[in-house]
Amino acid sequence: MKPEEYSRRQQQVGRWAINIVSYRLGDRYYCTVDNVEPGARIARGEGATREEAERSAIEKATARLAKTRVVS
């Protein structure tokens, strides 16, 4: 099987920029979110639709990003 309907975009969550990558593999959609700087994957989502996969990943990413302290 091949990944199809590949999509990549950038979005802001609070003060942090994230990359959102999603694509379809078979009958499921997959999404990964990384922090643009430095580029580490911080969440993953899966669903029957792109919206569902992205929503799941972005929710997890948002919760994790909220814990990031800025100390100075």
């Binding site: 990549r8 922090n35 994957r41």
Partner: protein, 280 residues
């Protein structure tokens, strides 16, 4: 355009597509965990988890020699096998695996340029089938510690300004504004950087598609930051995986003679009592 110093250590996604079935080629996806692999991977690839398979899980260290031999042998890898590594996060953990394979003297190890990201962007074939590897006997060499830095050496080198030190974390980690990459757990008590380090974020070595920039661009990047290779170079980040990526660039793409990865990195230095910390 100049060719990389050791171009044979880098293969394209197209090369992997064409050689993934070769008997002497073993493709390995290396991630912090194996969830991405389970979702779908390069056909024929096996998986290594950085957390559980590429590190000593009791003490903080790379695998001991016997454990390394077991991992490679059980992965169907012999001493003469061509090992092709790729992974997510732009090959950070694949580069860590590359570094560890070189510590234990594996001859033919290569990175897939662009990693998992590029393979998927190009909409190349993925599978969920995990191949069964026939176990082999693997004999590692004694560890080559000339490519690894430990804390005492880093402290001494920093005090004597005897090295070129490269901090490859993000600018905000370098300045101490944040203690870990956004969204990841904090693993240190203090923010900032090792005195004298130059900030050259790992990602500056890559193009948008995750592939490495040209040798000329890489040389200019490091030269403009004052990293020339005239002294030994030590790269560090937070846990040693991003700095493996930069170590690979400096040693194999630019051909610097003495480049070491300080895998203790900021999680070690930033937790030390009394260690000097620079904050701009």
């Amino acid at each position: 355009m100049s060719e990389y110093a050791q171009p044979q250590v880098l293969v394209s996604t197209k090369w992997v597509e064409e050689h993934k079935g070769d008997a002497n080629v073993r493709i390995v996806e290396v991630d912090v965990d194996t969830k991405a692999y389970e979702e779908g991977h390069v056909p024929g690839a096996i998986a290594w988890s950085w957390q559980t398979q590429l590190c000593d899980t009791v003490q903080r260290d790379i695998l001991p020699k016997a454990g390394f031999e077991r991992l490679l042998g059980s992965s169907g890898i012999e001493n003469g096998t061509t090992v092709v590594l790729y992974g997510d996060n732009n090959n950070w953990f694949a580069a860590w695996a590359f570094w560890q394979l070189k510590i234990y003297g594996h001859g033919d190890v290569r990175l897939m340029n662009g990693g998992r990201k590029k393979w998927i962007e190009e909409e190349r074939e993925l599978t969920r089938d995990a191949p069964r590897a026939a176990p082999k006997t693997y004999r590692a060499k004694d560890p080559d510690l000339s490519i690894r830095s430990f804390l005492p050496e880093v402290r001494k080198a920093v005090a004597g300004r005897a090295v070129e030190l490269v901090d490859v974390r993000s600018p905000q980690e370098f300045t101490g504004e944040i203690l870990a990459p956004p969204g990841l757990p904090e693993t240190c008590q203090r923010g900032g950087h090792i005195p004298g380090a130059k900030s050259i974020t790992w990602s500056k070595a890559c193009n948008e598609d995750g592939t490495f920039k040209s040798r000329d661009e890489l040389a200019r990047l490091y030269r403009e930051a004052g990293i020339t290779g005239s002294k030994p170079v030590i790269a560090y980040c937070r846990i040693g995986e991003r700095s493996s990526h930069s170590w690979f660039v400096l040693k194999y793409l630019l051909g610097f003679k003495d480049v070491r990865n300080y895998d203790g990195s900021w999680t070690e230095w930033g937790n030390l009592v009394g260690a000097p910390v620079e904050k701009p």
